[in-house]
């Protein structure tokens, strides 16, 4: 039983990264209709920028986070110009192909710049004000502060995002776009700037996830592959474009994987999610939490 809670906690940590990556992905899909397979590369870039900022440039953690946010948002800006702006009038499969191309290019650029060897971020938690005072034992569960940081950041960022979507003009524009791009444009929403903001926010969230995870897991040029695929699993399970759905599905996937690996077999861990994806797309294409819709 004690171990069970530990497995759940581990699942929540990984699940939180899935949420951070998937929320951006689901926004980009839901609002812009772009299926972005280069999203895992935003995560990879976040990881590498974090390592460069902290290990090489010796920046303090908060400054490093700012650098990662900025760099990832910049990548998002470029990605929008490649994946959305020129393709927006076309079928979504065009964006899939193009984002595959972008992903391959970014991975190999990373390979040339950073080399193939996996790298890790040494995050000295004792220097981070609030975090260093957090306990590492929660009853039977042991969580080092580097790990606690991840769900914590996730909750704060997703909370902020949710509030922004719900209460601000920008957020309302975003949701209006998701409902109907043409009508939103008629109502005075600047579609192009909404698109850019969506990509920058999505990329920044994935970048932060990459940076935080790089203190626990290794970063390497193709690390984004599996992350992107997992994030897509989450997006589909949660319902495309559904932020709250992605948050719940992300945590669920993290926990399911952790439990599968503990109680079934470690080799089954990654397969579970993808089988779910096919089943959900076949039988509940609106996602686990969406409502069905049929039209004439």
């Amino acid at each position: 039983m004690d171990l069970f809670l530990q497995y759940v906690a581990n699942g929540v940590v990984t699940g939180s990264t899935y949420v951070l990556v998937a929320v951006g992905l689901t926004l980009i899909f839901g609002i812009l209709g772009v299926v972005n397979f280069a999203h895992g590369e935003f995560y990879m870039i976040g990881g590498y920028v974090g390592i460069v900022a902290i290990t090489m440039l010796k920046l303090p953690v908060l400054a490093a986070i700012a650098v990662v946010l900025l760099a990832a948002a910049l990548v998002g800006l470029v990605a929008e110009a490649i994946l959305h702006k020129p393709l927006k009038s076309r079928d979504a499969t065009n964006s899939i192909i193009s984002s595959f191309g972008l992903a391959v290019a970014l991975q190999n650029a990373a390979l040339l710049v950073m080399g193939p060897q996996p790298q890790r971020l040494n995050l000295d938690v004792s220097k981070i004000p609030v975090l260093s005072s957090l306990p590492t034992d929660f009853g039977p569960v042991f969580l080092p502060q580097q790990r606690t940081l991840i769900p914590l950041t996730m909750v704060i960022l997703i909370g902020v995002l949710y509030a922004v979507l719900k209460y601000t003009w920008t957020g309302r524009s975003l949701r209006a776009m998701a409902q109907h791009a043409t009508v939103a444009r008629l109502c005075g929403v600047r579609v192009q700037s909404v698109a850019v903001v969506t990509f920058m926010v999505g990329s920044a969230l994935a970048g932060i996830a990459g940076m935080l995870m790089s203190s626990i897991f290794f970063v390497y040029p193709v690390v984004g592959n599996m992350i992107a695929l997992k994030a897509f699993t989450v997006v589909i399970l949660g319902g495309m474009g559904n932020v709250a759905g992605a948050a719940v599905a992300g945590l669920l996937l993290g926990i399911t994987e952790s439990l599968t690996s503990a109680y079934v077999a470690n080799s089954m861990r990654d397969v579970v999610g993808f089988v779910f994806v096919i089943l959900v797309l076949l039988f509940r294409p609106q996602g686990l939490f969406g409502k069905a819709a049929e039209r004439s």
Binding site: V35, F37, I82, P86, L87, R90, D91, A92, T93, N94, S95, I96, I97, S98, F100, G101, L102, A103, V104, A105, L106, Q107, N108, A109, L112, N225, L229, F232, T233, I236, S267, M268, D270, V271, F274, V275, V277, I278, L281, L282, P285
Partner: protein, 311 residues
């Protein structure tokens, strides 16, 4: 008759090539032929029938592992593995075709990606059957024999190259006939407008499933050829990036044009060889080319040329 004559001429040139070229270059040509089969196979389902698939790598792997495991466990020769690989991959193609009956566009594309990933994960994790990350190694292909008489030695690079060429020619001939048969025009109808296709009495279920099976079976054949050529298989030879590369070949050349994907495969396989020291940037260039192609020329080189000619 003209396309057949051109095909024959190209095949003859390729057949005499090993006499002129060295071992390395012959290997490159062989690799090129594998990818030509893959790209044409993908074109059938994605180009002609309009059912986008990112699972070519999975079917390629299923064919290759069928050959490797059959050789390991049954000691079966390549001429038996070839149809077996095609059948196994084709059956899985049928399986992947079922979601295509209900899903369209990017939803289907995502299912094919999930399928590709599942196949990869299973062959890399099921260690007792597939050898896990280490894979399976194969002996030299046994010579083709009939009634105890050796017909063809397959151990040498040249003879194996000729076998590959012969199989590739048969595959392309079949694919060409399929694409230009009644079934092929039904595929095009399904791509253009599925509802209309059904409204004029076309069995769209049969159309889609046959396209998936044909495409997968061709990839399976390429897989068997590759497994025997490489004397082994590992999971990392059949990742989603292989699928993406084949998609790039098809898109660059022109979806649904038949000749386009062939040229795309030739170009993308030979390009790194011509680049010399720049080959380090091969994948970077692939990726960028794919982005550029889909943005500037979504119908591909041949598609663009044909449209020009039609005007």
């Amino acid at each position: 008759m003209k396309p057949y004559l051109i095909g024959l001429a190209v095949a003859l040139v390729l057949a005499v090539a090993p006499f002129v070229l060295g071992g390395y270059e012959t290997n490159v040509l062989m690799m090129m032929l594998f990818f030509v089969i893959l790209a044409v196979g993908l074109d059938l389902v994605a180009g002609y029938c309009g059912q986008f698939s990112f699972a070519t790598g999975a079917f390629y792997g299923l064919g290759a592992y069928t050959a490797a495991i059959m050789s390991r466990d049954l000691g079966s020769p390549i001429w038996l593995n070839l149809p077996a690989g095609a059948v196994v991959a084709g059956l899985f193609g049928l399986l992947l075709g079922i979601p295509a009956l209900r899903l369209k566009g990017h939803f289907l594309a995502i299912v094919t990606i999930a399928f590709q990933t599942i196949v990869y994960l299973v062959i890399s994790q099921w260690t007792s059957f597939t050898g896990g990350q280490v894979g399976v190694s194969l002996p030299n292909p046994a010579p083709l024999t009939a009634f105890g008489v050796t017909l063809v030695q397959l151990g040498s690079l040249r003879s194996y190259y000729w076998l590959t060429l012969a199989v590739a020619v048969i595959c392309l001939l079949l694919a060409w006939r399929l694409a230009h048969s009644r079934l092929g025009s039904e595929w095009i109808a399904i791509r253009d407008d599925e509802t209309l296709a059904a409204a004029v009495g076309i069995d769209t279920t049969r159309g889609k499933l046959t396209a998936f099976i044909a495409s997968a079976a061709l990839a399976g054949v390429a897989g068997v050829l590759t497994a025997h050529a490489m004397r082994g298989v590992t999971p990392d030879d059949f990742t989603i990036w292989i699928s993406a590369t084949v998609v790039a070949m098809m898109v660059l050349g022109g979806r649904g044009t038949f000749i386009g994907p062939i040229l795309g495969a030739v170009f993308l396989v030979l390009m790194p060889e011509v680049l010399g020291r720049l080959a380090e940037y091969k994948m970077l260039i692939y990726g960028s080319l794919l982005v550029l192609a889909i943005t500037l020329m979504p119908e591909g080189v041949i598609g663009r040329l044909r449209r020009r000619a039609a005007r």
